[in-house]
C-alpha cells in the first residue's frame, strides 16, 4: 500500500482535469429506497440461514440491506439511500401517511448518502423495532388503509429530488406477501388493486424502477401471478425466469464485492494519424488500473480535524522564501547547467501530433517483456465521422485477420514513446460484454529500459538444458495442474479487501475485524490429491534424482564473489564481536562511545539489521540483549 498520496505512478497521463472532478460526484449516481414489508407475516415466517439457524424474513431483509449498504459506502459513496418500512404501527414520513415508517438519522435527510452512523443505527434497529416502529397488519377487511400504496407514494416522493437523466432511481421492495389484498373481496379489492397498480405505474412513468425481492419460504412459494406480476410489469419469458433470478439477486446483494466503481469516462481524446491526410479521432479509456485504498487525509491527532498542507520554497543559499522557480539545473562536468522549464518541455516534444502510425508487425513480435505499465483502451470518438469510424473498423478487422499489431508513436507530453496497438474483438459471454471491441495500446520499452539479465547469466561452459524425458515429465505435471477456467477477474485483492474490512470495523466501532478470505492462496487440497502428488514426485525424480535432499543442494552452487565477501565479512565481525564485553559496555552506558563500525560487529555477529542511525543501533543492541 502506497503511503505517499502524491505519488501515483499509474495515474493516467495528461488526464482531463475536468473529467477527474466529475468522476464520483454527479454522473451515474443512484438513489435507492429500500421498502421493507414489516407485516407480522415477515416475522413469523422463517427459513434456515447459512449456519442453520432459523432466521425470519424480516431479519433476512435487514441483513441484506445492511450488507448492501456496507458495500455501497465503499463502492459508490455518493449514492443516496433511504430505508422505509411499511405495514408499521407507527408512522413517520413526509406526507404523514399511515403504516409507513421512513427510517433516518436525526441529522440527515430522509434520502441521504450512507454514513457509518446510519449503518450502525440500522444494525441496531432490529432490537428496538417492535418498541419504536412496530409491526401491523397491512390491509384489513373493512379498512380503507392501503400501506403498500402509501409506501410506494412515500418512496416516489423521496425520489423526487435529482433529475432522472443523471440519476438512477430505484425502489427495492422486500416482501413475502404475494397477495397483499388477499383478505379483501369484491369491489374494494379490485379498487385497491387498481389504485396501487396505478400508483406504481405513475412512479415508473417518472423514471423510477421498482424492483421486487420476493422472500419465499420452503413450504410456500411466492406466487407472482397473484398481484406483483402487474406491478413490476413482467411478461412472457421474463416471468418464468424472474423467480429464479430473484433468489440470485438477493444473494448478489449480500455478496457484493467491495470495489470502487468508476464511471465510464475517457482519459483523453486524440488524433490517430494513419497516413498523411488520413486520421481518426479516438478516445482513450483506462479499463485496467490498480485500485488503491483511496486517498489519505492528514488529521490532527488531537482534534481529528483535517489539516491543510502548505508548501514553501526556500533558497538554500540565502534562506529567503522564493516563488516556485521556472528554472532547473543539473550538475554536469563540475558546473551547473541551467534550463528553463520551457526548454525542458521543448526537449520532450519530439513528435508532432498525438499518435502516429509507423507500421505493422506480426503478433509474434510482441514479446512478453515489452511492457511498462497498464494498457489503455482506444475506441473511436463519436465526434468523428462515419467515414473515420469505417476506417477504424476496416483496420481493426484486417489486423485481427492478418494477426498483426500496429506500431505507433505516442507523443504525450510526459513520456513520448512507442506503443503497440492490438485489435481486440468483442467477446460476449452469457449476455455480458467481457471484452469490448477496440484497440489496446501497450506501452513499449526503449532499449534503455530493457535489462540484459539472461545474458548476464550466460556461461561459456554451457548451461543446463532439459532432456526430452524431463520435458515429458514436466508436460504431465502441467496437464495435472491445469486451471481450466482461469480468468484474471477471479481473484480479489486480499490487501485491499482487508483494508476495507478494517476501515468498516473502525468506522462502525465494531469489536472484531471480519476475516477476509485470501483467494490467492494455492489450492492445498488439490495439491494433496494422489494423482497430483505422483506427477510432482515423478518430475522431481527426473530432475533431482532419487533420494534428493534439498538442504544438500544449497551451497553446491558456485558462490559469487560478493557472497564470498559477505561471508568473510560476517565471520570477521563474529570474531571481532567476541572481543568486546557487551554486557559490561551496555550496563555502564558506554555503548554510545563505540564507533559505528564496532557497533555493527555486534549486529552482524547476531544477524541483526545493521541499518539506521547510531541511536537506533544502540537501542537495537540493548533490545537484543534484553536490557
Amino acid at each position: 500500500m502506497e503511503d505517499d498520496p502524491d505519488y501515483d505512478i499509474f495515474r493516467d497521463e495528461d488526464e482531463d482535469p475536468d473529467a477527474q472532478l466529475h468522476t464520483e460526484n454527479d454522473s451515474n449516481k443512484e438513489y435507492v429506497v429500500y421498502l421493507v414489508d414489516a407485516s407480522p407475516k415477515m416475522f413469523t415466517t422463517t427459513c434456515l440461514s447459512e449456519n442453520q439457524d432459523p432466521e425470519t424474513h424480516f431479519q433476512i431483509a435487514l441483513s441484506c440491506i445492511s450488507l448492501s449498504l456496507k458495500a455501497q459506502i465503499i463502492n459508490k459513496s455518493y449514492d443516496q439511500v433511504s430505508i422505509c418500512f411499511f405495514n408499521t404501527r407507527e408512522k413517520k414520513n413526509l406526507q404523514d401517511l399511515n403504516g409507513v415508517y421512513a427510517f433516518h438519522l436525526p441529522e440527515g435527510d430522509y434520502l441521504d448518502r450512507p454514513t457509518a452512523r446510519l449503518i450502525k443505527e440500522f444494525d441496531n434497529l432490529q432490537d428496538s423495532f417492535s418498541k419504536n416502529i412496530g409491526s401491523h397488519h397491512g390491509v384489513l377487511p373493512g379498512s380503507r388503509e392501503n400501506p403498500l400504496y402509501n409506501a410506494i407514494w412515500v418512496a416516489q416522493a423521496l425520489l423526487r429530488k435529482g433529475s432522472a437523466k443523471t440519476v438512477n432511481k430505484r425502489i427495492l421492495l422486500f416482501t413475502n406477501e404475494d397477495d397483499p389484498f388477499g383478505c379483501l373481496k369484491g369491489a374494494i379489492k379490485s379498487d385497491m388493486t387498481r389504485t396501487t397498480l396505478q400508483r406504481a405505474k405513475d412512479a415508473q412513468d417518472l423514471g423510477i424502477t421498482i424492483e421486487l425481492l420476493p422472500l419465499s419460504s420452503p413450504d410456500e412459494m411466492f406466487d407472482l401471478s397473484k398481484f406483483y406480476v402487474d406491478l413490476i410489469g413482467l411478461e412472457g419469458d421474463d416471468l418464468v425466469s424472474f423467480m429464479a433470478l430473484a433468489g440470485n439477486r438477493l444473494e448478489d446483494m449480500k455478496d457484493q464485492l467491495r470495489k470502487r466503481m468508476f464511471t465510464k469516462r475517457r482519459v483523453k481524446k486524440f488524433k490517430f494519424t494513419i497516413v498523411d491526410g488520413l486520421s481518426i479521432e479516438l478516445n482513450s479509456y483506462a479499463l485496467i488500473r490498480p485500485t488503491v485504498p483511496g486517498s489519505i487525509t492528514w488529521l490532527d491527532s488531537i482534534t481529528n480535524r483535517p489539516l491543510k498542507s502548505e508548501r514553501t520554497f526556500i533558497c538554500a543559499d540565502t534562506g529567503a522564501l522564493v516563488e516556485e522557480s521556472t528554472r532547473r539545473f543539473h550538475p554536469y562536468k563540475n558546473q551547473n547547467i541551467v534550463f528553463s522549464v520551457k526548454e525542458l518541455s521543448e526537449i520532450k516534444r519530439v513528435a508532432t501530433g498525438h499518435l502516429h502510425l509507423l507500421g505493422f508487425k506480426p503478433l509474434s513480435c510482441l514479446r512478453d517483456y515489452y511492457n511498462m505499465k497498464p494498457s489503455t483502451f482506444l475506441y473511436p470518438s463519436d465526434e468523428g465521422t462515419d467515414g473515420s469510424m469505417c476506417t477504424f473498423i476496416a483496420l481493426h478487422k484486417s489486423m485481427i485477420q492478418l494477426n498483426r499489431f500496429a506500431v505507433a508513436f505516442s507523443g504525450s507530453s510526459s513520456r513520448p514513446q512507442l506503443v503497440a496497438l492490438i485489435a481486440q474483438d468483442e467477446v460476449i459471454q452469457s449476455g455480458g460484454q467481457i471484452e469490448p471491441p477496440g484497440m489496446h495500446m501497450i506501452y513499449l520499452p526503449y532499449s534503455d529500459d530493457i535489462r540484459l539479465v539472461e545474458e548476464r547469466y550466460s556461461d561459456t561452459s554451457g548451461v543446463p538444458k532439459a532432456s526430452a524425458d524431463q520435458i515429458k515429465k514436466a508436460t504431465d505435471l502441467i496437464k495435472r495442474l491445469d486451471l481450466k477456467d482461469f480468468s484474471v477477474f477471479q481473484f480479489t485483492n486480499p490487501a485491499l479487501q482487508r483494508h476495507y474490512a478494517v476501515l468498516e470495523a473502525l468506522a462502525l466501532e465494531e469489536d472484531e475485524i471480519p476475516e477476509i478470505k485470501d483467494e490467492t492462496l494455492p489450492d492445498e487440497e488439490g495439491l494433496a490429491r494422489p494423482g497430483v502428488v505422483r506427477v510432482l514426485e515423478e518430475f522431481k525424480t527426473s530432475i533431482y534424482g532419487e533420494n534428493y535432499d534439498e538442504e544438500s543442494e544449497q551451497g553446491t552452487g558456485k558462490p559469487t564473489e560478493a557472497s564470498k565477501k559477505r561471508k568473510a565479512h560476517s565471520e570477521f565481525a563474529k570474531k571481532e564481536c567476541e572481543s568486546y564485553d557487551w554486557g559490561e559496555l551496555a550496563d555502564s552506558g558506554k555503548l554510545k562511545d563505540l564507533t559505528m563500525v564496532e557497533l555493527k560487529y555486534y549486529l552482524t555477529g547476531h544477524n541483526l539489521p545493521v541499518s539506521g542511525k547510531k541511536e537506533a543501533i544502540v537501542s537495537r543492541i540493548l533490545t537484543h540483549m534484553g536490557k
Partner: protein, 682 residues
C-alpha cells in the same frame, strides 16, 4: 563510489567503408560518455581507432606490427575531452584489422589494471568487419582468436561487438564477411560477449548500452509448486523505465560573487490546523485518515500495522492454464525475469524442462508472489516461458503482473455491428486496408525487424544529454532539433512510405474522411441503456425515451398533446414542467376562444385530458384544478357554456386528493364539479 568502477575501451573502426555510419557512431559514443559523466563519473574510458592512416600504439613501439591502430585517448577518468574527441573522429584511409585492435586494447587494459576490477573491464568493438584480418604467424586464425578469447576471460574482460550489416554495409566480399563472422562468433562463445548485428542507424544507437546498471534481485528463493517441490530461482526486473533525469529547482538569489553557492531550492511542507491557520502541527501529532462514505476515519500507523494484511514471503504456483486465457493487454507493470539460481544445475534443469514443456503445450503458469518480508500485498501474475536457442544462455521465464478483480473496470462499448451501414467497410475497403497493413510491414520475412524495442533508444533522453553537453559549452544555446536518425522513431520511415505510395494512395482514396458526423442526440441514451442492461436495471419505459429524444421547447399547433408530453418529461431542467403546463393552458384557452361553433372543442378537451394526466404525474394537481375552475368561469363570462357542457359529457373533472396527494379537492367535490357548472350555464 569506485566500487562499481568500470573501465571501457571503445574500439572504433574508422576505415573508409565505415565513413557513412561514423556520424552515428560519434553520437552514440559521445552520449555514452555524457551519461557516464553524470551517473558513473569515476569510470574510465579509452578510445582505440583502427583503419586509420597513422599508427600510434604501445605494441607497435614495443614489438612492431599493429599498424593502422591509433590509441586516440588512453584510458582515463571520463571528462569533457573524451566527449569532444568522440564528437570528431578522424576518418581513416585503410581497411581495419579488428583483431589487431582487440589485442592492443587487451594490452592496454592489462597494463593499466592488471587483475584488478575483475569483470568491470569492458571492450566495445564497433565495426562492419568487412576487411580480412591478417594471417597469424603460426596456426589458423580460428586458433589465434580462441587463444585471445581465452586470455580475455582469464583476465576478467568482457567484450561486446556491434557489427554493421544490411543497409549499413556496402557491397563487400562475402567470403571475408563470413570468415569474420565466424571469428567473432568464437569471441562470443568463449567470452561473455554480446555479438550484435545491426542493419539500420537507429539500432546502432540502441545497441550500445549507454548506461550500466547492476541488476538487483527482486526475490531470491523458492518457486514453490507444492511443499515437496521447490525450485531455487532468482527474480530480476526485466524492464524498468530509465527516467528523465530529475532536475533541481534553481535559485538565483545567491550573490554572483558567491562561488560556493548551491543554487538549490529547498521545499518545506507544513501541515496546519484548519481552524487556526497559524498553528503548525508537528509530524508526531498528525494521523492518517481514510475516507468512509462522507466521513474520514483516523487510523494511526501503529494501529494499521497491527491489523493490516501480512502475507508470508514466498512465490507459489497456483496452476497452469492455456495461454489464451490471459490477454496481452492485461499485463500491468514492468516485466520480471525468473532465472534458476546460479550454479544450481538441478534448478536450471527444472526451469528448462518446465519452460520447454509450457512452450510446447502453449501454457502459462499463474503465480502468487510476495517478494519481500513485510510486503503489504500479494501479486498475482503470469509466468511465460522464455526458451533460449543459444547454448550458453539459460532458459528462463518472464513474469507479468495481472490485475485483481477490483482493478478491472467493466465499461461497455457499442458493438461495431450496431453502427449504421455507412460505418461498415465494404469488401473493397477491407481489401485496401489489408493491403495497407501488409505493405507497411516493419518485420518483413528474411529481413531484420525494424524498431525492435531492444534496439530502439529513447529519443528524449538522447536529445537531453546532447543538449546538456551543448549547454555546458554555450549556455544560451537553443534546444537543438531532434536528431535526423532519431526522428525515424517518431515518424514513419520515408523510404517505406515512398516505396508503397501506390498502396497508401489507394488506401486513402478508399476511405472518405468527410462523411457525416457520428454524433447524434440519441447516442447518450443508447449508451445508458447499454450500461443499465448490464446491471440488471430495467431501462426507462419506452415512451420516456421517445420524449427525450426530441427536445421540444414550445407547444405547436399540429401536435399539441405530444409536444406537451415531450416537454413535461424533459429532465434537463426542472423549469420545463411549469413551462409545459403554462403553455398548454394558453393553448387550451386559445382553442376554446377561437372555436367556431365548437369545432375546436374536441381538440381542446384532448389537450385538457393530457394536461390533467401531466399534472397528476408531476404532482401539480392544483395547477390543473385552478385552471379548470378558471376556464369554466371564463366560458360562462364569454358565453361559451357549450364548452362546459361538452366537458361534462367527456367527464373531465378536477383532480381529487386520491389521485394526487397535494390536491385540496375531495372526491366529492371533483365528481360534483362538472355537474355544478351545468346549472350555472342554464
Amino acid at each position: 563510489m569506485a566500487r562499481n568502477k568500470e573501465a571501457l575501451l571503445l574500439l572504433l573502426d574508422v576505415g573508409p567503408s565505415m565513413h557513412c555510419v561514423l556520424p552515428e557512431v560519434e553520437k552514440v559514443c559521445s552520449m555514452l560518455v555524457q551519461k557516464k559523466l553524470i551517473y558513473n563519473k569515476y569510470d574510465e574510458v579509452g578510445i582505440v581507432l583502427f583503419g586509420t592512416e597513422d599508427t600510434d600504439n604501445e605494441l607497435t613501439t614495443e614489438v612492431g606490427g599493429y599498424q593502422h591502430v591509433v590509441v586516440l585517448r588512453n584510458t582515463k577518468v571520463v571528462d569533457g575531452d573524451i566527449v569532444e574527441a568522440l564528437q570528431q573522429l578522424p576518418r581513416g584511409t585503410n581497411g581495419g584489422d579488428f583483431l589487431d585492435a582487440v589485442i592492443v586494447a587487451m594490452d592496454m587494459l592489462i597494463k593499466k589494471f592488471g587483475d584488478t576490477i575483475k569483470g568491470k573491464k569492458r571492450i566495445c568493438l564497433i565495426t562492419n568487419a568487412q576487411c580480412p584480418i591478417k594471417d597469424p604467424y603460426e596456426g589458423s586464425k580460428e586458433e589465434q582468436v580462441t587463444t585471445i578469447a581465452k586470455q580475455m576471460t582469464a583476465h576478467g574482460m568482457r567484450m561486446e561487438s556491434i557489427i554493421m550489416r544490411g543497409k549499413l554495409s556496402q557491397d563487400a566480399n562475402k567470403e571475408i564477411m563470413d570468415e569474420n563472422d565466424r571469428l567473432l562468433n568464437i569471441f562470443s562463445k568463449e567470452t561473455s560477449t554480446r555479438l550484435l548485428y545491426v542493419e539500420d542507424p537507429i539500432s546502432l544507437f540502441g545497441a550500445l548500452k549507454t548506461r550500466n546498471i547492476t541488476p538487483v534481485t527482486v526475490f531470491r528463493g523458492d518457486l514453490e509448486f507444492s511443499p515437496k517441490l521447490r525450485i531455487k530461482v532468482m527474480v530480476y526486473k526485466k524492464t524498468q523505465e530509465e527516467k528523465f533525469p530529475t532536475l533541481k529547482k534553481y535559485s538565483d538569489k545567491a550573490p554572483q560573487s558567491d562561488k560556493f553557492a548551491t543554487h538549490e531550492v529547498k521545499i518545506d511542507y507544513e501541515y496546519k490546523s484548519s481552524d487556526d491557520p497559524d498553528k503548525v502541527i508537528p509530524p508526531d501529532q498528525r494521523i492518517k485518515g481514510y475516507r468512509y462514505g462522507p466521513q474520514i476515519v483516523p487510523i494511526s500507523t501503529a494501529e494499521w500495522d497491527a491489523v493490516k494484511f501480512k502475507p508470508e514471503k514466498g512465490v507459489k504456483l497456483l496452476g497452469f492454464t492455456d495461454s489464451s486465457n490471459v490477454l496481452r493487454h492485461q499485463y500491468m507493470k514492468e516485466a520480471y525475469v525468473f532465472i534458476a539460481e546460479t550454479g544450481n544445475t538441478k534448478a536450471g534443469l527444472a526451469v528448462s524442462a518446465l519452460a520447454r514443456a509450457m512452450r510446447e503445450m502453449n501454457k502459462v503458469a499463474i503465480l502468487r508472489c510476495v517478494w519481500r518480508h513485510g510486503q503489504g500485498s500479494v501479486v498475482i501474475g503470469v509466468l511465460t516461458p522464455n526458451v533460449s536457442d543459444r547454448e550458453n544462455i539459460p532458459d528462463s521465464f518472464y513474469f507479468n503482473v495481472l490485475p485483481f478483480a477490483e482493478d478491472v473496470r467493466e465499461f461497455q462499448f457499442p458493438s461495431f455491428t450496431n453502427f449504421p451501414a455507412s460505418c461498415q467497410p465494404n469488401k473493397q475497403q477491407l481489401e485496401s486496408a489489408a493491403n495497407f497493413i501488409k505493405m507497411l510491414d516493419l518485420a518483413p520475412d528474411g529481413e531484420k525487424e525494424v524498431l525492435l524495442p531492444d534496439f530502439t533508444p529513447n529519443p528524449v533522453l538522447a536529445r537531453f544529454y546532447h543538449y546538456l553537453d551543448l549547454k555546458s559549452k554555450h549556455p544560451d544555446a537553443a534546444v537543438p532539433p531532434l536528431d535526423y536518425t532519431l526522428r525515424k522513431i517518431t515518424e514513419p520511415e520515408t523510404d517505406l512510405v515512398l516505396q508503397n505510395q501506390a498502396v497508401i494512395d489507394s488506401f486513402r482514396r478508399s476511405f472518405d474522411q468527410q462523411g457525416n458526423p457520428l454524433k447524434k442526440p440519441r447516442r447518450l441514451l443508447r449508451e445508458k441503456i447499454n450500461d443499465e442492461g448490464k446491471e440488471n436495471i430495467t431501462a426507462p419505459p419506452a415512451n420516456l425515451i421517445e420524449y427525450t429524444s426530441i427536445k421540444v421547447e414550445k407547444i405547436g399547433d399540429s401536435t399539441p398533446v405530444q409536444d406537451f408530453e415531450a416537454m413535461i418529461s424533459r429532465r434537463d431542467s426542472p423549469d420545463w414542467v411549469l413551462k409545459a403546463i403554462n403553455d398548454m393552458k394558453n393553448k387550451i384557452f386559445d382553442m376554446v376562444e377561437d372555436s367556431h361553433e365548437g369545432d375546436n372543442y374536441a381538440k381542446a378537451v384532448e389537450c385538457l385530458v393530457a394536461l390533467r394526466k401531466g399534472c397528476i404525474l408531476e404532482q401539480e394537481p392544483n395547477q390543473f384544478n385552478n385552471f379548470l375552475k378558471h376556464l369554466c368561469n371564463f366560458c360562462q363570462e364569454k358565453n361559451l357554456q357549450s364548452f362546459c357542457e361538452y366537458l361534462a359529457t367527456k367527464r373531465v373533472s378536477l383532480i381529487p386528493k386520491t389521485e394526487a396527494i397535494d390536491s385540496d379537492v375531495t372526491d366529492e367535490e371533483a365528481r360534483s364539479f362538472s355537474v355544478k357548472s351545468e346549472p350555472k350555464g342554464d
